[in-house]
């Protein structure tokens, strides 16, 4: 029977049987099992296949420090069996097998190992012809789990959180650290990645119940403490600047901001390296002890314990206490003071072989189990110890990933054969094994020390001075590695890397730790080197005759354990802005388009009309009657104060000091290098008060930049951003005045309200600002009202517009109308390098002003020969083949001579019209230019003066 009779403190609930399938076979586990413990409990030893040679693999760490056991669970790839809670009716298969775990066809690769030394794939497969085939094969062989395209987008509730002291790891030192910090008054959050807190206090017992009792006592104090919040099933995925820690708490990401952090993450027990050290049944001592005490699973019947410290002897005691026959304890150390656990082992009559090592493990049938361990001491004849399991306890590597991420300088300590924190960053503290403290009592003291210091750093109480006694033995062996002519002595289990691979890599010149990592891929597998980096480092040190300190470690980057994208993505907020008339557009059948964060009507659908027809109809409606467009997305700013005009003079290229009150003027803004960045209309409401618009996309940035400039210049004026506060429409068309006169007492005569004038008045009972603008080339009014009256003004205009056949029009129709008028759109008819000269804005450019942004650069540019010019062009009215599109190139004598920036069919003009950048020599009116289409054919067009429509602006004048 593999399951033991009930073990005190076990995590499984025997009253709840959990059925599941693995590789098509049905099994039963208990609630509280992990997938691996359930499978071992059911007598399975083989849980997965290795990455490269497809060797049978079982439990190694049972702690997410290796990926021997990785499953596909339905649509979930790469589920880690060692640490994933068993759930009812899980349907599991091992990843990356070919024909199933049991008879994985790819295991043949193991026999070809000789052909595939480290980096072999760099040395072959690169014939230009064949590589694509090889690559396909490689990609098929690599990769672990499969994604299912049916998986939905899972949105999770991410949250921020805050605490005074965050303690990471609820083992012996972490529990005490949390208690100490809380007692000093700090709000403490204590996390542990396991299902339950307590750490090794719950399983590394050496058959002493007292150890577990002490842990339980500490844990109860923690649970009872009002200032401590304990989060289990929670791991710290990464440490980020200013004590910002990503906590993965079952299915939620918590972004924790702490005032100080205690890292009590313990150590990774390290595997010994000997031939066949990866056989199922060979595991770390801590793994065996977890199986015994958490899951009441007997990991083997007859065990050989390989050790180099007292932890190994405790493991031997735990095993034999739970009925495992311990054949022998093989101690790598020839001479060492026999500690108390060792004496108890001897007392039990267990054989202790000091100064021995395991030369190789002997495989059972098909390499799916262990048959024995061949041991020797290098002097006498080697000996074979029959067993069905080997337990390794040869030392620890600090779980220092978070410490490294926080910028800790680590130092290699000979007496411990371990890296320990040397200089910790402010507010970061370490205790326990990660801090080089291994004896249980000392770990508790160390937790007290760190907890107190962390609380003090967060402003609670004073640092308690506590002396930590030195270790009585070195917990870690400096060279737990045994060479073997036939290899298969694995260092990195993720990547199937053997001792030989490192020797070869170094021989090829990859002899520093970073190059070695990249060439051999050691530590680059899913467990990110937790069980392999330290041994790799020892090997490199030996091969290069350096000390571990000189070799140094590779940088440790987030994540500590991999994090699902659904947790990182969270809900995926995507802010969106709507103008007040949004619902009205929907009612009129708006086809929406995104304009940055805004939703804007592209056009309005009409039954039986296609997109282009609708757009054309809308444009014609504006030309013939009257149209209405929502322009509420325009930036709407105000500048007020004695120096308001001065500010505008400095940021726009034209004059505004001389702008009359009640008038508006076109406004172009450049950056410091003279590139056109934005445009709009500036209106003067009073001597010291201007109201002006920016482009939709420019609004936020322009307001921010003007604020910065004004902060710097300290002019006597203030800027107010009213972009969202005003709703705005443009009422345009021959009938616009007649329509508007129905709704306002304002005198709309050309004399009283001329072209480009600005008036404040009441429209449909709503206080409004009106501007007579000509962007679309018709008599028209831009009407701005408080946003909360946006629907009211829209409804009033629509109602009054009935008798004039008023038609709402969208962005596309407006684009066409402005094109007929030859007005440019910044960002479409300009690009990241366009200056005012390029686009014929000389008329607006006032170089004689004292200063404006971009002026000095434009002085230089003005002296240079022009490179391009934006011009209008038309296609022959009879033209009826395929039409050029925006950004098709203008070709002159085989060379690129420009590009189309805008083009459209103008029903009003009866031909295609457009704007294009061309070389200056092509810019003369009536010049023929050739535009090359996607299909390489060319279309010839004629340069034409703009505006195409109403060149003399008669539409803005009172009909005589």
């Amino acid at each position: 029977m593999i399951r033991l009779p009930p073990v005190p403190g076990e995590w499984i609930d025997r009253s709840t049987v959990v059925p599941f399938t693995f590789e098509g076979k049905t099994y039963q586990g208990y609630a509280g099992d992990t997938i691996s413990s359930a499978l071992l409990g059911a007598g399975e030893k083989v849980l997965g296949r290795s990455f490269k040679y497809h060797r049978a693999r079982g439990v190694l760490s049972l702690a997410n420090h290796d990926v021997n056991a990785v499953c596909q669970w339905g649509d979930r790839p790469n589920v880690r069996a060692d640490v994933t809670q068993l759930q009812a009716n899980m349907n599991l298969t091992a990843v990356n097998t070919f024909g199933g775990l049991d008879s994985d066809k790819a295991r043949i690769l193991g026999t070809f190992a000789r052909f595939m030394p480290v980096g072999f794939y760099y040395k072959a497969f690169h014939s230009k012809l064949l590589f694509p085939l090889w690559e396909r094969m490689f990609r098929g062989m690599t990769g672990l789990g499969k994604v299912s395209f049916d998986t939905p987008h899972i949105r999770t509730p991410k949250r921020y959180d805050f605490c005074d002291v965050l303690v990471i790891g609820a083992g012996a030192s972490g529990l005490v650290a949390a208690l100490t910090a809380a007692e000093q008054g700090a709000e403490v959050t204590l996390i542990d990645e396991n299902n339950r807190a307590g750490g090794s206090g719950g399983y590394a017992l050496g058959a002493e119940a007292s150890r577990m009792e002490q842990m339980t006592e500490q844990l109860n104090k923690v649970l009872a403490h009002p200032r401590i919040r304990l989060l289990t099933n929670t791991y710290a995925a990464g440490y980020y600047t200013d004590h910002w820690i990503a906590l993965v708490c079952s299915d939620v990401l918590i972004k924790m901001r702490a005032k100080s952090v205690v890292v009590a993450t313990g150590g990774y027990e390290q595997p010994a390296v000997f031939r066949n050290n990866d056989l199922p049944g060979i595991m770390l001592a801590s793994a065996a002890q977890r199986l015994l005490y958490r899951y009441a699973v007997r990991p083997m019947q007859r065990a050989v314990v390989l050790t180099a410290n007292q932890d190994g002897y405790r493991a031997a005691l735990d095993l034999s206490a739970q009925g495992v026959e311990v054949v022998a304890v093989v101690d790598l150390r020839p001479d060492h003071l026999d500690g108390e656990p060792e004496q108890r082992v001897i007392a039990l009559g267990i054989r202790v072989l000091s100064g021995y090592r395991i030369i190789e493990a002997l495989p059972g049938a098909k390499g799916k189990s262990v048959a024995g361990a061949r041991v020797g001491n290098g002097k006498s004849e080697s000996e074979t110890l029959p067993c069905d399991g080997i337990v390794m306890s040869v030392g620890w590597a600090p779980a220092a990933n978070l410490l490294y991420q926080a910028g800790t300088r680590m130092r290699y300590t000979q007496s411990l054969e371990q890296f320990v924190p040397d200089i910790l960053p402010p507010g970061v503290f370490a205790c326990g094994r990660v801090n080089g403290v291994h004896t249980l009592s000392a770990r508790r003291l160390d937790g007290q020390r760190a907890g107190s210091a962390a609380a003090a750093h967060a402003g609670f109480g004073d640092i308690r001075e506590i002396v930590i006694p030195a270790e009585t033995e070195c917990p870690t062996h400096p060279w737990p590695i045994v060479a073997h002519p036939q290899g298969k002595n694995f260092v990195d289990f993720d990547e199937d890397l053997q001792l030989k691979d490192f020797e070869n890599a170094v021989q090829e010149g990859f002899d520093n730790i970073e190059l070695l990592k990249r060439f051999s891929t050691v530590g680059m597998g899913p467990s990110q080197g937790k069980h392999s980096n330290m041994n790799a480092l020892r090997i490199l040190a030996k091969l290069t005759g350096k000390e571990p300190q000189e070799v140094g470690t590779t940088t440790s980057r987030p994540f500590f354990h991999p994090v699902p994208m659904s947790l990182l993505g969270g809900r995926g907020f995507s802010p969106e802005r709507r103008t007040p008339m949004h619902s009205r557009h929907t009612a009129f059948g708006a086809e929406w388009m995104m304009a940055g964060v805004w939703q804007r009507p592209e056009y309005y659908r009409r039954a039986g009309k296609d997109r282009l027809q609708c757009i054309q109809d809308e444009a014609v409606a504006v030309r013939q009657n009257v149209g209405l467009i929502d322009v509420g997305t325009l930036g709407k700013l105000e500048v007020i104060g004695p120096q308001a005009a001065e500010l505008l003079e400095r940021v726009y290229i034209s004059n505004y000091a001389n702008l009359k009150v009640g008038m508006t003027r076109y406004a172009v803004m450049c950056d410091e290098s003279g590139v056109v960045v934005d445009d709009g209309v500036v209106g003067r409401l009073a001597e010291d008060h201007f109201y002006f618009t920016t482009t939709t996309s420019g609004a936020a940035t322009i307001y921010r930049e003007l604020s910065r400039l004004n902060t710097m210049w300290q002019l006597d004026c203030g800027i107010v951003n009213h972009t969202g506060s005003f709703a705005a429409v443009n009422l345009a068309g021959p009938q616009s005045r007649a329509l508007l006169s129905r709704l306002t007492p304002l005198d709309l005569s050309a004399a009283a309200f001329p072209y480009l004038a600005l008036r404040e008045g009441v429209v449909a009972g709503i206080p409004a600002r009106l501007m007579r603008v000509g962007f679309v080339g018709e008599w028209g009014y831009e009407i701005h009202v408080p946003a909360n009256q946006g629907c009211a003004i829209w409804d009033a205009l629509i109602a009054a517009g009935k008798e004039f056949d008023l038609r709402p029009f969208g962005v596309e129709a407006q684009r066409l109308l402005r094109l007929e008028k030859g007005h440019i759109i910044i960002g479409q008819d300009t690009d990241g390098l366009t200056n005012p000269f390029d686009v014929g804005l000389e008329w607006a450019l006032k170089m004689n002003k004292p200063f404006f942004i971009g002026q000095r650069s434009l002085r230089v540019i003005d002296r240079q020969t022009r490179k391009q010019k934006l011009v209008g062009f038309i296609l022959d009215a009879q033209f009826n083949s395929s039409v050029p599109q925006e950004c098709h190139l203008v070709i002159d004598r085989g060379e690129i001579a420009g590009r189309v920036t805008s083009i459209a069919w103008s029903a009003t003009l009866g031909c295609h019209i457009g704007l294009a950048f061309v070389r200056p020599e092509l810019a003369e009116a009536n010049t023929t230019i050739n535009i090359r289409l996607t299909d390489r054919t060319t279309v010839s067009a004629k340069i034409a003066r703009t505006p195409f429509y109403d060149p003399d602006n008669l539409k803005q004048k009172e009909p005589a």
Binding site: R76, N78, R114, F115, Y122, K123, H126, S127, K128, F131, E135, R139, T142, G143, L144, G145, K146, V147, S148, T151, H153, I154, G238, L253, K255, Q405, K500, N504, Q507, E508, G509, N512, E514, L515, R518, F519, P526, R557, P558, P562, P564, M565, S566, G569, G570, G572, S574, E576, M593, M594, G827, Q828, D831, L833, S857, E886, C887, H888, L889, R899
Partner: protein, 413 residues
Amino acid sequence: MPWRLLRFATAKKHPEPRMFTTHSTLKPTYDVVVIGGGGHGLAAAYYLGRDHGITNVAVLEKGYIGGGNTGRNTTIIRSNYLTPEGVKFYDESVNLWKDLSQEFDLNLFYANRGHFTLAHSDSALRTMRWRAEVNKHYGVDSEVVGPDFVKKSVPMIDLSCGGHAPILGALYHAPGSVARHDAVAWGYGRGADQRGAEIHQQTEVLSIDIKGGKVCGVQTSRGYIATNKVLCAVAGFTPRILDMVDLKTPIYIHPLQAMVSEPLKPWLDPILVSGSLHIYVSQSARGELVMGASLDPYELHSTRSTLDFTEGLSAHMLDMFPFLSHVKVMRQWAGMADMTPDFAPVMGKTPIEGFYLDAGWGTWGFKATPVSGKTMAHTVATDKPHPLIHGFSLDRFRNYSLTGEKGAASVGH
């Protein structure tokens, strides 16, 4: 199985020699000193020997070769740029890339996957057409394609991108490829080494000796070197080196971050880039999704990682590929991108005689490794800028004749 692997099986001892010699000391003088043992620096040393017979060359690397942006980028190779200068330059690079594995006799895993730059707005679509037309004009294979074509090539994609960034089309660039980045540095390193150039790792440049406006030497952490020609190819460290020679440039450093998922069975063949969603993604030969986003928002000379990067990128990845919900991000990292105002490099001669600059590689340096090495080698050897890099000279800024590559480079790595 290729025969070449047999020798591994048959040989008693591992039959591979060192890829690069370790030189215990620096020579007192070299004809050319290359600062920076990344892809660009090693490539320049390689072509100096191969094309110009200049072999008395030292490559000084303060860390280990390929340890900078060469080993940190997302390995995308393409030539679908916007400006004629850019297209010609990167097209030459792609041509060199195609033969590198054979030339080096080292498998760089140069994999032609095809490259989509997705357009989520009509203005983006216009830029795509502009790029496609300029590309085709110079014989580069790029086309604007519709959503249907995207769907056909990447059937699992959500064309609506979660509803808030519908894909309106894309620029499809068939030659788009990926390669094993580290191997590129090793290949050029081995080639340069074989031709006599010396690679000195863990060798930091402390100052550059200039007399009468001419370079005459370099002070390193391992001693002084006399030389009249120095090539600076240090990407993210460029401003630190330029500070030594008091040269001002428009280069500013922003971190650029990336992340990889756990290995998955292959499902994504082409390379996908989305400017609006700030995504670029491909699946490596190991099965990992290699993902990047836009630059960090502020200047920083450091390679620290941020959590918000992984959050934002994951959210956008899920908009495009909802089914990745369970896929886990394994590791993130960062590089230092040496950005320029017009998103084009700064290459060639400088006001200091004998000081040559290969910089401003921002987010587009890896793909240029071969051509930058080749053209810089030419420039250093002949003291005349190679024709392909005329558009990239430092003085273009004082002349207000920028190259305007922005439209093609923003998040288009």
